[in-house]
Assembly symmetry: C2
Homo-oligomer: 154 residues x 2
């Protein structure tokens, strides 16, 4: 994986903010002609620096009013249990994020759901499928102050 130069970082910064910008326009912004600009983008896609392009939707507009975080603590810390729980969590489409964390709990899960009813259902399903020793805590988001994937490249 080659090092990223100033122009590459510049391109990445712009694409993070406008994933659908035309290559000609992007090229103009970074003072290149279209060919090398397009090649840089393609190379970074190939090398996995750019993982993909996504439209971001308004959750309210698609009836996902509720954002919740779940902390899941597994007392039995065998590898088997971790793998099983992970597989369960990954199967749930409402789960947007799932991280294995150090500290006081084990999995931190972020999920978007239509409303409280769906949340209680999810929680019920989870507790049924998790090992008996697992405990969980939930945090309901009252207000989303900020949510992005933008990485500053300075």
């Amino acid at each position: 994986m080659r090092e990223l130069d100033r122009t590459d970082l510049n391109i990445l910064d712009i694409l993070q903010k406008d994933g659908r910008i035309a290559i000609t326009e992007l090229a103009a912004k970074v003072n290149l002609s279209t060919t090398p600009c397009s090649e840089r983008v393609k190379r970074m896609e190939r090398e996995g620096v750019i993982e993909g392009y996504y439209a971001r939707l308004n959750p309210k507009a698609v009836k996902k009013e509720l954002l919740v975080f779940l902390e899941i603590n597994l007392s039995a810390k065998s590898g088997d249990v971790f793998d099983k729980v992970r597989r369960e969590l990954l199967q749930i489409p409402e789960v947007l994020e799932c991280h294995l964390v150090s500290g006081e709990f084990d999995y931190l899960v972020k999920a978007r759901l239509p409303e409280m009813r769906a949340y209680r259902k999810l929680l019920g399903e989870l507790l049924k499928r998790l090992p008996a020793s697992a405990t969980s805590r939930s945090y309901i988001v009252m207000e989303e102050v900020k949510e992005s994937l933008y990485l500053s490249l300075t």
Copy 2:
């Protein structure tokens, strides 16, 4: 804001997975010609159903190896304090998410940083700038099992 029909949801589903797809290709996938397909996309952009398009980067490739979550508890729950803390948090570019939550703490913060040194620096800065009564807990992510913004539209 008009209701979204089956075709709209279909379009949104595809754009969530491939934000740079050409309109002609998108139109073919949803059995439309390009004109109405383009108009539907434009309308949903205008109405805020589609909030934007973003390239997603590989955090490791841009030297953001560390993902941390911070719980920040404000004992003094006056509106002033909340606003001040929020403004502090929003000014930090490494903060990707910030949510006001119910439950045992107040702000849940997600941040991406180069490494431990940057994390300790961030924590030091934060504690200096937050009110004296604030407490915090950190969770370092050991493994990112899943991270997406994809909303299932079924």
